[in-house]
Amino acid sequence: MSPIVSISRAVKSYGGRGLLDVGALELGRGDLIVLSGDNGSGKTTFLKIVAGLEHADVLHMRCNGFEADRRRYPRELRRQIVYVHQHPYLFNTSIAANIHYGLKLRDVDERERERRVRDAIGWAGVEHLQSVLPAKLSGGEKQRVALARAKVLEPRVLLVDEPTASLDAQARAQVIELLQRTATGDNCVVVACHDKELLELPGAKRWHLDRGRIDA
């Protein structure tokens, strides 16, 4: 079965210092990949390059028939690869409007949008928070809303950066469960983390980033 994403090379340096130099990586269907590495090892940079949010010095990447390089990141790829920050940014509006955002950009018809947003809110278990403004949510609640906002778009690739950092045990368990439920069928999830519980998740593939290289 062909992989969803093939990265033949990705290189990035800052101020002459090599940060990342990876090659021959594949993200397959249904993969849950846990990417570990020390602080500053380049995990976030790697995820942002794959998501097209950061420029690489060298990039050869293929996803679902579309190719990205250091100059060009096709819009179609942005529609298939979604990145979630370590501390997600929620727009200063309702939770439902946050989840609607990406669907509106994809011109999903209003009735279908309503249905998918309702499902996503239920999936993330945030029904009781619908009247609460994002600024009042806890870290775990924000993370769950951000995952719902990403998942509702049904991306082929979901990139999640340190989703359990600074969460309490209950919030961590909820977020980990959501991540496991996301990596199914035709899509894949890459999670950058230090979390031992995530690193030891049964069925997850482990990648380690060290000195700019990924051990897959």
């Binding site: 998501a51 949010l53 940014y89 955002y101 950009l105 403004l133 009042k136």
Partner: protein, 231 residues
Amino acid sequence: MYLLDATQQAFLRLAGGDRELWTIVWVSLRVSLLALALATPFAIATGFWIASHRFAGRRFAIVALQGLLSFPTVVVGLILYLLLSRSGPLGPWHLLFTQDAMIIGQAVIAFPVLAAFTLAAVAGADPRLRETAVSLGAGPLRSALTSLYEVRFAVIAGVLNGFGRVISEVGCSMMVGGNIAGLTRNIPTAIALETSKGDFAQGIALGTVLMFFAFVVVALLAVIQEERKPQ
């Protein structure tokens, strides 16, 4: 006692619907609001562009914009007068001593205020904001609009500050408007004229209206400050 008499007269004129007085107020409001409407889209686009792009001369552009904040309005009026006067390059447009000339002048005065507020708001916005919009599928225009929407209170504060600056400016309006009764006479130019004529009642009445506008602007800014606080 003349001060008390003049004040009493002023309030009688305000309450009595003095036609000349309310025409002046109308000219002021019309010119200033149209000037803001003219300047706002360009100023917001400029402020956003400078804040979100790295280019040669960016630092100079920011300093120039901040410098323009304190540019004397009478000098704006002088430059515009030279451009619009019969022998000036824009003389054939016959705009001198019209409301249109005042609108252009006030738009020029409001521009740096609006652009500087937008620039500060966008530059100070959380960098995750734009990344989030882009990652969810927004193109350059949509992510720009989303960013502006997120910092809307700061941008509205800029618009209100711009209104406060243009509604009370006298230098430019006097030079390019000519203070023509019923046409280009606005509150500040009328106050200057009536005071020089010794009609303090009219001056106090118009000053009261101007202070009311200032109070409304300050009140709206206070409401916006409250809205901007994290919930």
